[in-house]
Symmetry: C2
Subunit: 111 residues, 2 copies
């Protein structure tokens, strides 16, 4: 490891399709562990682990009332993540531009 970054945790959380689906589901409305377990045909324990990972990454918060734990989105907005990706894309563009300029220059030297 080079150094710690919240990007590590978030990208890892987003790399699992079940977890992305949980986020999308929670976008429609809050849901309990049982709701999610039913929806994704998984044990309560299994879903709880996924929710734990999302919580660790700050993408989900949970609150237990009575015997039901309700999961909702937040507080992270993925701003750092989209910023990193945006920067990467701009860098790619720049490299393309340089390559293009280089190719043009090379072509000009031909008859």
């Amino acid at each position: 490891m080079v150094q710690y970054s919240p990007l590590d945790t978030t990208f890892a959380a987003l790399s699992d399709p079940t977890r992305r689906a949980v986020l999308e589901r929670l976008g429609r409305s809050d849901a309990s562990i049982s709701d999610l377990a039913g929806l994704f045909a998984m044990t309560l324990t299994g879903i709880k682990k996924h929710v734990g990972v999302l919580e660790e990454a700050g993408l989900v918060t949970t609150e237990k009332v009575g015997r039901v734990r309700t999961c909702r989105l937040g507080p992270r907005r993925l701003d750092e993540e989209s910023h990193w990706i945006g920067g990467y894309q701009r860098m790619l563009e720049q490299r393309m531009d340089h390559l293009e300029a280089f190719l043009e220059e090379t072509t000009e030297t031909l008859p």
Copy 2:
């Protein structure tokens, strides 16, 4: 696993700080396995594995000429990834708006 998606592979590739640093380094110029190993104080084998993961995710291509393997960026631009994140952020906004509307409505009913 719910289903396969390229997002799985890419987000997983991006979740490691060394690999993100390799991408950033390759943004400045192409580099050999040895270059990267030196830069990140890692064995050739270790770096080769990371490059393999990036290659698998389509973020890096490599070409071996003589005994040197040169790594460069491409071909993936992270368009799907930024699209997913963008959609997530828009969904979050919407939820916020609904919550806001709900709170306003509730407030109006007070004296």
